[in-house]
């Protein structure tokens, strides 16, 4: 099974989890995702994901001037975003438990 496809499937949860720790801007978020193993993802995919989340009302953003380049767009979770993360984590936990049970049966 393609690991990058697996990771893409949980990209939303990963992004929401990182933002749950505090607001972050694109580059920083990308670095955090890479450190978590999402190293196959490009800037465009993450940018598209953030835009979609903003459209959905999960994420809000604000521009902060930067001394070493263009203004940074900081993203943070909204209440709806936190609810979505909570819901997603619950479903993820259920999924992992189901899968673990299936794998246990094979042994």
């Amino acid at each position: 099974m393609n690991e990058s496809q697996l990771r893409k499937g949980v990209l939303d949860l990963a992004v929401l989890s990182i933002l749950a720790r505090g607001e972050s801007y694109g580059y920083e978020l990308t670095q955090d995702l890479m450190a978590a193993g999402f190293d196959q993802l490009g800037d465009a995919t993450i940018y598209g994901t953030l835009r979609r989340m903003e459209q959905a009302g999960w994420v809000t953003s604000r521009l902060v001037p930067s001394s070493d380049g263009p203004a940074r767009k900081y993203h943070s979770l909204t209440r709806a975003g936190r609810a979505s993360l909570s819901d997603g984590m619950e479903r993820w936990t259920e999924l992992v438990a189901s899968l673990a049970a299936l794998m246990e049966e094979r042994r």
Partner: protein, 288 residues
């Protein structure tokens, strides 16, 4: 046939406006996103990447092909892959025959399936490679492989014949460039230098055509980037010529090649369509 330049090449070569051009090419690939959001994305990309007024070529170097960027954005936005062509009329699929000649000495016909059902024949193409160079041009399956050394320039001419009833407007080329080395696949990113620079041209029927390949009807636009907005109107029954000149920027000692599926972005009967051309492969292992 008439040819109109939408944008003078000089403006593309200048050191500003590249971010705008690049961002416009990205949002062009997002036609199913609401207009106001597309405009917002375009502004956002220019704000993020255009602070130092990079040229279009610089934008490509830093951020890659805008088509690829847009497709990855679509993935992140959970949109369907770039909208498939709308087929309003079922037409027979033609097999286009292509003639490839090397400096007028070596030539052969090459058949290429045209997935787009619109009856357009893309043929022939002409390379200006040195025919005396051993193994300079080779045909591998449906791929035409051209071995080039660092700094070598290759010219390729496409002839597009409109066999249908509607006018074809060729808006540009969408070369999807990939890179192979040692059996792996890599994506070009801002950290890599440009591999090649392509000049595009289109046939002109009026004054001041320069020559390319000896055809006095071809005007070279001398644009310094792979992606060029280039309206070219081809009426039913008529033929248009698009010339591409590529200069390889570097070579490598290990086996590797650039492959490039040439696609023409077109408007036919008011619909955005793509006409698929053949695949090119430039072997980069010709280091001196």
């Amino acid at each position: 046939m008439t040819t109109r330049r939408q944008q003078a090449p000089e403006t593309l070569r200048a050191g500003s406006g590249g971010a705008e051009e690049w961002a416009a090419a990205v949002v062009k690939r997002l036609p199913d996103v609401p207009t106001d959001e597309r405009a917002d994305i375009e502004r956002d990309l220019v704000d993020r990447f255009g602070a130092d007024s990079p040229s279009l070529a610089e934008m490509h170097r830093r951020h890659g092909d805008p088509v690829r960027y847009a497709d990855e954005m679509r993935e992140g936005m959970q949109l369907e892959p770039f909208p498939p062509r709308v087929i309003r009329r079922r037409r027979r699929v033609l097999v286009a025959a292509a003639t490839v000649s090397v400096a007028g000495v070596v030539g052969w016909w090459w058949s290429n399936g045209v997935p787009d059902p619109y009856p357009a024949r893309i043929a022939p193409w002409t390379f200006d490679q040195d025919p005396t160079a051993p193994g300079a041009v080779d045909e591998v399956g449906s791929v035409l492989r051209v071995q080039v050394a660092d700094g070598a320039t290759t010219s390729i001419t496409f002839t597009i014949e409109n066999l249908g009833d509607d006018t074809i407007r060729i808006d540009g080329m969408l070369p999807a460039v990939g890179f192979r080395a040692e059996g792996g696949s890599y994506t070009f990113g801002p950290e890599l230098p440009p591999v090649w620079i392509v000049e595009l041209g289109a046939i002109a029927d009026d004054d001041d055509p320069s020559t390319l390949g000896g055809d006095p009807m071809i005007s070279r636009f001398d644009a310094s980037d792979r992606w060029q907005v280039m309206p070219l109107i081809i009426s039913p029954g008529e033929t248009g010529i698009v010339a591409m000149q590529a200069t390889i920027q570097y070579c490598q000692s290990s086996p590797g090649a650039i492959t490039d599926r040439i696609r023409f972005e077109a408007t036919i009967d008011g619909e955005r369509r793509e006409l698929d051309g053949p695949e090119l492969s430039f072997d980069l292992s010709g280091c001196p």
